[in-house]
């Protein structure tokens, strides 16, 4: 029996074209999609069993349950979760992403030593990092509400908004984490950079915007404020959720301005578009850094 065929069966590897010794410039055809899927599958299998990811899901579930018990309804529980989502999701994603990058670096080098284009490998690693974190987030905030049978048709749009905003933040900050990992070889410096990015985007930025608004209160600031809002994915997520919640008490200053200027479907669309931009931009930058990096 042909040993390759037996190996294909036993190792569940799809049959592929044999490499020709003269073939150096052209890929003998393992499609990028197959490569990405293989790396993604292995990454998900690894990260989904990581104790920190499981703890993340558990913490979110406990918080959701506690807020549901306190508020007595799903919308109140979700309102209470707003700042948890805006603070915890970027923090966990960035710190875990950077730590995982450095922990798995030697295995990444082993994968890079295989005949794999770097951009395809990066896509597999990125999606493999983000997918379990998105799943942990989604499970954490959804499961308690489902168990209480609180996901009614009128709650569903709000819950979906939370899931979309949290997923978008996870995808964005996972790309930022991989960018930091590729740019900074020193584990401690990379961790410090991750914490700095989190602190600036979640805390410092709004303070800066409020200070600007106060200092230049005589000026018409609506348009510059719009620009500041789009310059921070956390503000964009806050705005998107705030527009859904219609809850001024939980707004940051930037969210309040966007609500006034772009209330309604248009604002929701633009903030969503901005979040997509904040996923794509760091992803492109991180993939380029990965492709050019000396390992």
């Amino acid at each position: 029996m042909n040993s390759d065929r037996v190996a294909d069966r036993v190792l569940s590897v799809p049959s592929r074209e044999t490499f020709s010794p003269g073939m150096i410039g052209a890929r003998p055809v393992t499609p990028h999609f197959t490569l990405i899927a293989a790396v993604l599958r292995a990454q998900v299998a690894e990260i989904a069993r990581n104790r920190w990811v499981l703890a993340y899901a558990l913490v979110l579930a406990v918080l959701t349950e506690a807020l549901y018990q306190l508020g007595g309804s799903a919308p109140r529980a979700l309102s209470g979760l707003l700042n948890v989502v805006l603070l915890l999701v970027p923090l966990v994603t960035t710190v875990f992403g950077v730590v995982y990058w450095h922990t798995s670096r030697e295995f990444t080098e082993l994968l890079l030593a295989q005949p794999v284009p770097r951009r395809a490998l990066w896509c597999g690693l990125y999606l493999g990092l983000a997918t379990p974190l998105v799943a942990a987030f989604a499970l954490g905030i959804t499961l308690p509400l489902v168990l209480h049978r609180a996901v009614t048709p009128d709650v569903l749009p709000l819950l979906l908004s939370y899931l979309l905003a949290g997923s978008a933040l996870t995808l964005s900050f996972a790309a930022i984490a991989m960018w930091i990992g590729a740019a900074q070889d020193d584990r401690l410096k990379a961790l410090g950079l991750a914490l700095a990015v989190w602190f600036i985007t979640t805390v410092v930025y709004d303070g800066l915007v409020i200070w600007l608004a106060t200092a230049y209160s005589d000026w018409p600031l609506e348009k510059p404020m719009l620009g500041f809002m789009f310059a921070n994915p956390v503000d964009l997520a806050r705005t998107g959720l705030m527009l859904r919640l219609d809850s001024a008490a939980l707004m940051g200053y930037t969210g309040a301005v966007l609500s006034n200027v772009l209330g309604g479907p248009r604002g929701l669309f633009l903030s969503s578009l901005g979040l997509v931009f904040w996923i794509v931009l760091p992803a492109i930058a991180a993939a380029r850094a990965f492709a050019r990096k000396d390992f």
Binding site: S3, D4, V6, A7, D8, V10, L11, S12, V13, P14, S15, R16, E17, T18, F19, P21, G22, M23, I24, G25, A26, R27, P28, V29, T30, T34, L35, A38, V39, R41, A42, A45, E46, R49, N50, T103, S104, E106, F107, E109, L110, L111, L112, A113, Q114, P115, V116, P117, R118, R292, D294, F295
Partner: protein
């Protein structure tokens, strides 16, 4: 008939910031030959390995496979098997998962069934166990399997026997010798000079990022009066200039072989 494959770096230089790690280095790995790269820590061995694998891009110079330039390409790695030093596999994946993953990334399937692989590398007792709970020796066996199962033309082995028990170490060395007999070009880096003395045909001695000796082991040892490899290397490091007697028994390496040491 296809010419014997050979991996080569030609006039490679690499700096990290202001630190020059490799300077005008040329090394060739001929088919059917085990080449040992020796040098103290910081001499550039790891960087040389990584340049051969495309993990590090050289500032100057080229990587050639079978005389074709492959610098910046990724497909040529289908012909290379790489065994890194002390691998840190994902701790929740099993050996089976890792082998399956690597198989998915290669353009051709492994040349053994999983059962044959388990026998050949003695993986039976832990093939389905998470690698995080496996011993260093067990992980090293998986590492060897990853490098060897695709029958690559070139093998790059970084401290291949580190962490292995004597039986597994001897078995791996036998396998490396068998791979040489099949015509593979093999590069080994190791700090265990007695191991290299047993395995290596050729020696590349790196010091401060430059090649100080590139030639056969027998010529090197003959030049130092038949000393062991360890003492010959020691003599190389101490001596400012040692003339190595030309080795007339072997075909010179492609392009860059020196039968004289430049110290």
């Amino acid at each position: 008939m296809t010419a014997a494959p050979m991996l080569e770096v030609r006039r490679i230089s690499k700096s990290f910031g202001r630190t020059a790690v490799l300077r005008d280095v040329s090394v060739a790995l001929p088919a059917g030959c085990i080449t040992a790269v020796i040098g103290p820590n910081g001499s550039g061995k790891t960087t040389l390995n990584k340049i051969l694998l495309g993990l590090v891009r050289p500032n100057h110079g080229h990587v050639l496979l079978n005389h074709q330039q492959v610098t910046g390409s990724d497909t040529y790695r289908a012909r290379i098997g790489y065994m890194p030093q002390a691998p840190r596999f994902p701790e929740h994946l099993a050996a089976r998962d890792v082998l399956q993953l690597v198989s998915s990334l290669r353009p051709h399937a492994p040349h053994m069934t999983l059962e044959q692989l388990i026998d050949a590398f003695d993986l039976a007792s832990f093939v389905s166990r998470p690698l995080g709970v496996c011993s260093g020796g067990q992980r090293q066996r998986v590492n060897a399997a990853v490098a060897l199962i695709f029958e690559p033309d070139v093998l790059i082995l970084d401290e291949p026997t580190a962490g292995l028990d004597p039986v597994s170490s001897a078995s791996l060395k036998d396998r490396i010798i068998a791979e040489r007999a099949k015509g593979r070009a093999i590069l080994i880096t190791s700090h265990v000079l007695s191991e290299l003395e047993e395995l290596a045909d050729d020696i590349v001695f790196l010091l401060d990022g430059t090649v100080r000796y590139c030639g056969s082991q027998s010529a090197l040892r003959a030049s130092t009066g038949g000393l062991s490899l360890e003492r010959s290397i020691g003599a190389l490091m101490q001596s400012s200039s040692i003339a190595i007697a030309p080795d007339t028994h072997r075909t010179p390496l492609h392009g860059t072989r020196t039968d004289e040491a430049h110290v």
